[in-house]
């Protein structure tokens, strides 16, 4: 009962936050609201009994991406003060609205066939889940089934994913990280040419 009440209130907050994000022009405030949005959705995941997803949402959504967006804001800043304010959009974009409406109604139509939340007849409960639930402990000795699947059954897959993420992080650090390059030292010849 209380879960439903908390769900409804959190969803109301989510909707309010997203509408506010769309209406605002202050980019810094939008990044702050993204943090609130992420915290709200992570709380929603906890209420819906998915602590693993909530864990990822909190780490990536509220932590890393807030810092990354703020860093981007600092890198692309304009000389005008305050640098994080964007001029409001003058025209109204009708085509994106139509596309979003059609896609949204198609998705809502798709949810009609989805089994109820936590239903035992759901395909996700009857397909391979039973095998992992019964065999992951004797096979791998890992108490958490999700961890057993990710780190043992799909160990090489996870290794590949981690390699991709590591490569991307190194590339980003090489491109934007560290100190700005110093202006190139001019040779004596160039200075002589300038004076001439």
């Amino acid at each position: 009962m209380i879960d439903v009440v908390v769900d409804i209130i959190l969803l109301t907050f989510l909707a309010t936050t997203s509408i506010a994000i769309m209406r605002m022009t202050n980019l810094f405030a939008i990044v702050m609201l993204f943090g609130i949005f992420s915290l709200l959705s992570a709380g929603l995941f906890v209420v819906m009994d998915a602590p693993d997803v909530a864990f990822t949402e909190a780490a990536v959504g509220a932590g890393i991406s807030t810092v990354l967006m703020l860093a981007t804001l600092a890198l692309v800043k304009r000389p005008k003060e305050p640098y994080y304010d964007e001029a409001p959009r003058a025209h109204r974009a009708w085509l994106p609205l139509i596309v979003v409406t059609i896609t949204g109604s198609a998705l809502v139509y798709g949810t009609w066939d989805i089994p109820n939340f936590g239903s035992p007849d759901a395909p996700s409960q009857t397909h391979v889940a039973r095998f992992y639930l019964e065999n992951s402990m004797p096979d791998t000795g890992v108490p958490n089934t999700v961890t057993a699947v990710l780190a043992s059954y799909r160990g090489f897959d996870t290794l590949g994913e981690v390699t991709v993420i590591f490569t991307a992080a190194v590339a980003v650090l090489l491109l934007i990280g560290g100190k700005r390059p110093k202006p190139a030292l001019r040779s004596k010849d160039e200075e002589a040419q300038d004076e001439a």
Binding site: L10, T66, K77
Partner: protein, 99 residues
């Protein structure tokens, strides 16, 4: 008891959200986000006890740490305008000060 506590926390979250939406200055918004994060930690802790899944408390602890990092990053950006140390000493002069 837990139900009353969770409802009170939700009301506080709503107030913090209102401040983040309307907040005239940057610092209002940062304080609102920080407070919202704290309330999320509390809400998760209360819900964990309400539903008997006390292992969720670990997540509440992670939230507390991440919230701290995010707020420190935001404050550093507001104070310095960037995240990297400058090579040029003139850049260290704050906006509006005489060089």
């Amino acid at each position: 008891m837990y139900i009353a506590a969770s409802l009170a926390i939700l009301v506080t979250m709503g107030l913090a959200l209102a401040r983040a939406l309307s907040g005239p200055t940057t610092y209002d918004r940062i304080a609102a986000v920080n407070m919202h994060g704290t309330k999320t930690v509390l809400l998760i802790a209360v819900l964990a006890f309400l539903s008997g899944r006390t292992d969720v408390l670990d997540i509440a602890l992670v939230y507390a740490l991440i919230n701290f990092i995010g707020v420190v990053a935001a404050l550093k950006l507001v104070e310095q305008g960037n995240f990297h140390a400058s090579d040029n000493p003139d850049d260290e002069v704050k906006q509006g000060e005489q060089k």
